[in-house]
């Protein structure tokens, strides 16, 4: 396996452990949807994005918006492991006085580019960032992760229109298509198919990939960067709860179903990290 991919996979393993551990620790949070986008975030934060943890506000940095804000634990794990703040903060998720809010908060957490949580709003923010880049003649990229249920929100389509109208080629959006939203499968709730056709007719360049295959994720970003004049939608087939078998594909694990079951996931996740001790320096099984 190429070293680059091995690195992102290693960090994804660490992040999975972190996500389950931090939610179990505070007994609150959204494990299923956090785990389904870990691979996307690992590729972004440990390969793709030009960022500087020592300088979170560096104007030239790539931006990231977690529009499906309830997956914040995944983002926090990425930021911690990337060095934006000490990993000990992960133990204080959602606690008064901690820096990690229940949903991403730009004012509280170094490295969080946008405050989100209310679904449907993050893509607009990403559009604004991409427009600003153009005005400033800057060449940074803007990456957004959307939830699939989130595309029910009309504001997403308002933003989609703008992205296409301004030909925002530096905007790359990942849709975490785990096929489950709060009240059931996408089919049961609003039946939004065909998603790929929808985004194409809205003027986006669309790719469909396996959202847990790092090679495919990285290749999708490369392809996007070679196609300049349209915003990019990468539809990622994912599994809700990926990496924790008891949670995989289970709607109820949008939130916590059973704390003991969460706890029981940890040994196997820890074992997975230990395989990459050479890359991670030490497996942090906190």
């Amino acid at each position: 396996m190429e070293q680059g991919i091995r690195r992102t996979i290693a960090y994804a393993a660490q992040m999975r452990y972190d996500v389950v551990r931090m939610i179990e620790n505070v007994k609150s949070g959204h494990p299923g949807g956090s785990l389904s986008c870990v691979d996307i975030l690992a590729c972004l934060y440990f390969d793709v994005m030009r960022i500087c943890p020592d300088e979170p506000d560096w104007p030239g940095r790539d931006r990231f918006v977690l529009s499906k804000g309830h997956a914040a634990p995944a983002l926090y794990a990425a930021l911690a492991r990337r060095g934006y703040f000490p990993a000990t903060e992960l133990g204080k998720l959602r606690q008064i006085g901690g820096i990690l809010e229940g949903h991403p908060d730009h004012n509280h957490t170094p490295g969080v580019d946008a405050t989100t949580g209310c679904l449907g709003e993050g893509l607009s923010i990403g559009i604004g960032m991409a427009l600003a880049a153009r005005l400033d003649h800057a060449d940074y990229y803007v990456y957004v992760v959307l939830g699939d249920g989130e595309t029910n929100e009309g504001q997403i389509w308002e933003a989609a229109q703008v992205g296409a109208h301004y030909g925002l080629g530096h905007l790359v959006v990942f849709l975490d298509l785990n096929n489950l939203q709060f009240d059931g499968t996408l089919d049961e709730v609003l039946r939004p198919w065909d998603l790929s056709a929808k985004w194409k007719t809205f003027g986006w360049d669309v790719q469909d990939i396996d959202g847990h295959d790092h090679r495919q994720i990285l290749r999708a970003v490369s392809k996007a960067k070679n196609r300049k004049n349209r915003p990019h939608m990468v539809i990622c087939q994912t599994t809700k709860g990926k990496g924790a078998p008891v949670m995989e594909n289970q709607c109820a694990w949008h939130s916590i179903v059973n704390l003991q079951q969460m706890n029981d996931c940890l040994p196997k996740l820890a074992q997975e990290i230990r395989r990459y001790e050479d890359i991670l320096n030490a497996a942090d099984v906190w």
């Binding site: 504001q155 389509w157 109208h165 609003l190 056709a197």
Partner: protein
């Protein structure tokens, strides 16, 4: 005569011409209103109110009636004229658009005007209401149909797409949306402000059956409105803003400006002169 009978088509053309004259007189008298979008919608509104819809002016709340929502509510002069000409209220009210105490508000108000099925005016909201009515119809096993007239600029509103997804999920075949596609919005052309194409493909992708027509051809409007589908139906009606008055046609400025005396006379002459 059947709906698509040439005699009916002629009759509808005559009514539409009369409706246009009344719209302009009304806006002129009020010194306020939206002529451009009212005129572009005039033919569709005429066909709905004078041929297609099952309604009863004597009984505006008849539970079995077809419903109409003017989601592009600023085009209400066209709707008010149609309602008055159909007998929902006296024609004399048309002289008092937007007046305090009058029954004709600046945008449709269901509490003030007989025959208005839902209040509208804030763009993007009417399709949702239409979806709700269509759902209620199915739930209560009533046969009525729901028609919603949308503006093109209005499609910028995200709520339209929420409603579109919802209608598709519930396969609301009793729901027809019509887009008055005159290609102009307030700040400029739709292509310039927020391009809508490929419009038909978008609505297909959102689960609707789409029919494209000339929104000023009575026969095409009739056929499209009466075509049965398996789910919600969208009619993309290509129209001309200000249709019927040469100096208003395709001119953005006439979105919200009332004609003065001279302009009115010119317009009425043109409309009277047309065969």
């Amino acid at each position: 005569m059947t709906a698509v009978d040439p005699a009916n088509v002629d009759r509808l053309r005559t009514i539409a011409r009369e409706l246009r004259k009344r719209v302009l007189r009304m806006i002129h008298a009020a010194k306020s209103g939206h002529p451009g979008g009212s005129l572009s919608a005039a033919d569709v509104v005429t066909v709905l109110y004078f041929s297609v819809m099952r309604i009863d002016p004597e009984d505006p709340d008849w539970a079995e009636r077809d419903r109409f929502i003017l989601s592009k509510g600023h085009a209400c002069p066209a709707l008010y004229c149609a309602l008055a000409m159909r007998g929902y209220f006296g024609l004399e009210h048309l002289k008092h658009l937007r007046e305090i105490g009058g029954i004709l508000q600046g945008h449709p108000d269901m509490r003030k005007t007989p025959g208005i099925d839902y209040t509208s005016g804030s763009l993007g909201q009417g399709l949702s209401v239409g979806v709700g009515m269509a759902m209620a119809g199915r739930l209560t096993k009533r046969e009525y149909r729901v028609f919603v007239l949308l503006g093109d600029g209005e499609l910028d509103e995200g709520q339209i797409w929420e409603a579109a997804m919802c209608a598709s999920k519930y396969r609301l075949r009793n729901l027809t949306a019509i887009i008055d596609y005159n290609h102009l919005q307030l700040d400029g052309g739709t292509e310039e402000i927020m391009p809508l194409e490929p419009l038909a493909a978008k609505w297909n992708a959102f689960g609707w059956e789409v029919i494209e027509i000339d929104g000023h051809e009575m026969l095409q409007i009739l056929e499209a409105l009466q075509r049965e589908t398996n789910g919600p139906k969208l009619i993309v009606a290509q129209t001309i803003k200000g249709k019927g008055v040469s100096y208003m046609e395709n001119v953005c400025d006439w979105h919200g400006r009332a004609p003065n005396d001279e302009e009115l006379t010119l317009a009425l002459t043109e409309l009277g002169a047309q065969v």
